[in-house]
């Protein structure tokens, strides 16, 4: 359950991301900030660095979408599946999609965008689901306070197995 088949990982540590659209549930600036902090969850413990681009090609494309949205994995309306992502690779590889039928929030109401984004970016970097309760990469959503969020040991160990530690 730990990583995707063949352990796909990015062959470089400097990656780019692009936000192609926004949810109406939050001010754009709040979305930008939640995405930035979600990437920091992973760059804080590895040599990975994430740079936002606006018009050029990006390794990780971030999109809000409803129902069928062009990747053959339609969302299902409010509840159930909240988001999904694709493991590292060209094209759709690394991309993360968020179901805009959810109500996205930055607090403990509805669905916290920062927490779901941090989880999805784990997939974008090559992590599969963990069956360790409390792990960020556990499949089911549960709220923890983003202000005091610390990456659980299981997730930190697995991402460092793929990309090394921050110092290296």
């Amino acid at each position: 359950y730990k990583t995707f088949p063949g352990n796909p990982r990015w062959k470089r540590t400097h990656l780019t991301y692009k936000i192609v659209n926004y949810t109406p549930d939050l001010p754009q600036k709040k979305v930008d900030d939640a995405i930035r902090r979600a990437f920091m969850v992973w760059s804080d413990v590895t040599p990975l660095q994430f740079r936002r681009v606006f018009k050029t090609h990006a390794d990780i494309v971030i999109r809000f979408a409803r129902r069928e949205h062009g990747d053959g994995q339609p969302f299902d309306g409010r509840g159930a599946v909240l988001a999904h992502a694709f493991y590292p690779g060209e094209g759709i590889g690394g991309d993360a999609h968020f179901d805009d039928d959810e109500r996205w929030s930055e607090v403990n109401q509805e669905v916290n965008l920062f927490l779901v984004a941090a989880h999805e970016f784990g997939h974008s970097l090559g992590l599969g689901h963990s069956n360790v309760r409390g792990a960020l990469m556990y499949p089911s959503y549960s709220y923890v306070n983003p202000a005091t969020f610390r990456l659980p040991e299981d997730d930190r160990r697995r991402i460092q197995k793929l990309y090394g530690t921050k110092s290296s």
Partner: protein, 76 residues
């Protein structure tokens, strides 16, 4: 009196529900081609540290209802 939902039709619905969940999140892979539905339910119950019964019980149903990520739990 309201017509009693025939027990078998409820279980048909349940079977379809759990099968759809398993197909999405515990997809049949090469190595799991021949697993029975009961075995596939056990695989899901083991992953989520539930009581392994192979049957759709309350805690398994509860787990299926939780909001979650759309990426499968078992990778090929």
């Amino acid at each position: 009196f309201p017509a009693q939902l025939k027990p078998e039709s409820r279980s048909d619905t349940d079977t379809e529900k759990i099968k759809a969940y398993l197909d999405k999140f515990f997809p049949i892979l090469e190595k799991t081609q021949s697993l029975s539905l009961e075995e596939r339910i056990k695989e899901m119950q083991r992953f989520f540290h539930l009581t392994v019964t192979g049957k759709l019980n309350a805690e398994t149903e509860e787990t299926m209802k939780q909001p979650r990520c759309g990426v499968p739990d078992t990778a090929d």
